[in-house]
């Protein structure tokens, strides 16, 4: 009989995120943003003790650092990972990063640069950042706090910053074998690229969410994974770890209204 634990949708997504790194062995786990960072930290504390992780600045730690202010606590380190070293990990391929792109298309191409026309855009965001290099060199996953057609666009993303599985972009001689996109965790579901020719499949739906709702909010056709079920609920043990990792409850500010994991009846 399972424990009836209460959990927020953010906590459900943290646990779903942590699954992305399952089986990766010793790679640098880079969770960019609160939910991904907590997901990576949870992964390291549970199924992935071999993962490498930083203190989010320039040092490696074996005990994931809790988020937010930590008084006088000074962590102990296991090594160095300044920005220059991160590129060595990227180019060597031993990294799995989870990021939050502005747009994602059916090929897994991502955009973090601009919305609209490149020369005179509707909205400037950050820039391509490390997406081109990360996406072609190592495993990546995505986090999407608000699943909508504005994120999951119909055609290609407005500015392809990160590579994906679009055959039209890959010219003869270019190595596509170092890239891999693992999971997309949204506020509605978890998806992967394990359909035929890397088509995106929904692999689990969050409690109370239907496949139709997910499809409705996505700009391209989605497949269902054969064993499509409900996204696993956080266990009490996982929630204890999450609370320890996020004592200031920054996760409560990640999703609008901080909804519960079990959707209220309509």
């Amino acid at each position: 009989m399972s424990d009836k634990v209460e959990f927020s949708l953010a906590e459900l997504m943290i646990v779903a995120a942590s699954e992305a790194w399952r089986g990766d062995g010793e790679v640098l786990a880079s969770g960019i943003g609160v939910i991904p960072r907590l997901g990576a930290s949870l992964a390291k504390l549970t199924h992935g003790p071999g993962l490498l992780m930083t203190d989010s600045e320039c040092f490696l730690v074996e005990d994931p650092i809790p988020l937010g202010p930590r008084g006088d606590f000074v962590p102990k380190y296991s090594g160095s990972m300044n920005f220059e070293r991160v590129f060595e990990c990227v180019w060597g391929g031993q990294r799995h990063a989870m990021i939050g792109p502005t747009q994602i298309d059916r090929y897994g191409q991502t955009n973090l640069s601009v919305i609209g026309d490149y020369k005179k855009p509707k909205a400037a965001i950050l820039g391509v950042r490390g997406l081109p290099g990360n996406s072609i060199n190592h495993i990546n996953s995505f986090i999407v706090p608000s699943h909508s057609k504005r994120v999951f666009v119909e055609g290609e993303v407005d500015m392809v910053s990160g590579v994906g599985y679009n055959p039209a972009r890959w010219e003869p001689g270019m190595r596509q074998d170092f890239m891999a996109i693992r999971h997309i965790v949204t506020d509605l579901c978890v998806m992967d690229f394990e359909g035929p020719e890397h088509a995106i499949r929904v692999r689990s739906l969050h409690p109370g969410v239907s496949f139709d709702e997910v499809q409705e909010k996505t700009g391209f056709p989605l497949l269902k994974a054969p064993n499509l079920g409900e996204t696993p609920h956080p266990t009490a043990a996982q929630l204890t770890l999450i609370r320890r990792l996020d004592p200031h409850d920054l996760r409560a500010a990640q999703l609008k209204g901080n909804p519960p994991g079990m959707r209220a009846a309509a």
Partner: protein
């Protein structure tokens, strides 16, 4: 040999149309005191090469940037750099938008005096599609891999803020992360550094000498600029000034906001700037950000 000079002296070396590279990363250890001196000058049509933070935003706001060679502009805890954003959206900027890895690789090529260095970063993205001047190159070996030939990013000038310098141009970067300032410095015909502390001549222990990350022969001028990275952080001395950054961010949403920011903070000089920010007593004690 004494390379000590003022920020005004540095800016007097700069010319319209120059290609200027900046050390630091986003809101971390940017040579802001020198940037403010550029803002006070008539310089224009600059090509700015940076892992962008408020230096990019401010130079864009002041209309001084013709072209931006960058991977991003951000204030980190405030993700969207507001003046970069505004000017970017106006269509006013020429751009060479690069993967972060391409950016440093191009600087390395320039410092090594090779015309390019190969990488696969950027392939199959819009970086290559939007910038047809970036060429590919095929491995001459049996693998025949097609790579991107990242061209050397040569700079006229590098501007870098360090923790300590001496009058000969030796520099120390004592924070946890040296970022890529050594590559920025080597890619330039002339590097000018601003430093929290300047000594006449370093006399370092072995442990201290490790903080020297690039050669003094690159350095043409040294500016003594305590709190000279403000409002960016300068690990381990002081953190970024979130209150000031918010004030700066707000200026982008106000009519005449940039002129108001200039009038309030920049035009009257660095001493007045420091007064407006609580003096070095406050600026030098801003807590380091925790992540």
């Amino acid at each position: 040999m004494n390379k000590l000079m003022t920020a005004t002296d540095v800016v007097a070396q700069l010319r319209d149309g120059m290609t200027i590279g900046f050390g630091g990363w986003g809101p971390r250890r940017k040579p802001m005191a020198i940037v403010r001196e550029i803002l006070r000058s008539d310089l224009k049509d600059l090509t700015v090469v940076a892992y962008g933070g408020p230096e990019v935003g401010m130079l864009c706001a002041a209309g001084k940037v013709k072209k931006l060679i960058f991977g991003f502009a951000t204030l980190d805890a405030i993700p969207l750099e507001p003046w970069y954003r505004k000017v970017r959206e106006s269509g006013a900027l020429e751009l060479l938008e690069l993967d972060e890895g391409m950016w440093q690789w191009g600087l390395r090529a320039a410092g090594m005096r090779v015309p390019f260095l190969p990488t696969r970063c950027g392939l199959a993205t819009d970086v290559t599609k939007l910038n047809p001047e970036l060429k590919t190159i095929t491995s001459p070996y049996d693998d025949g891999e097609v790579l991107l030939a990242m061209p050397a990013l040569k700079l006229d000038v590098a501007l870098v803020h360090v923790n300590a310098a001496d009058q000969l141009g030796n520099t120390l970067i004592t924070g946890g992360d040296p970022y890529f300032d050594h590559l920025v410095a080597r890619a330039a015909d002339a590097c000018y550094v601003s430093a929290e502390r300047v000594e006449e001549r370093f006399a370092l222990t072995a442990a201290e000498a490790r903080f020297n990350t690039f050669e003094r022969y690159l350095v043409k001028g040294v500016v003594h600029a305590p709190c000279g990275a403000h409002p960016t952080a300068c690990d381990p001395e002081y953190g970024w000034d979130m209150a000031h950054l918010k004030r700066y961010v707000a200026s982008a949403a106000e009519d005449g906001g940039w002129q108001a920011y200039m009038d309030e903070f920049v035009t009257a000089g660095e001493a007045a700037y420091q007064d407006k920010n609580g003096g070095v007593e406050r600026m030098g004690k801003l807590p380091l950000p925790v992540f």
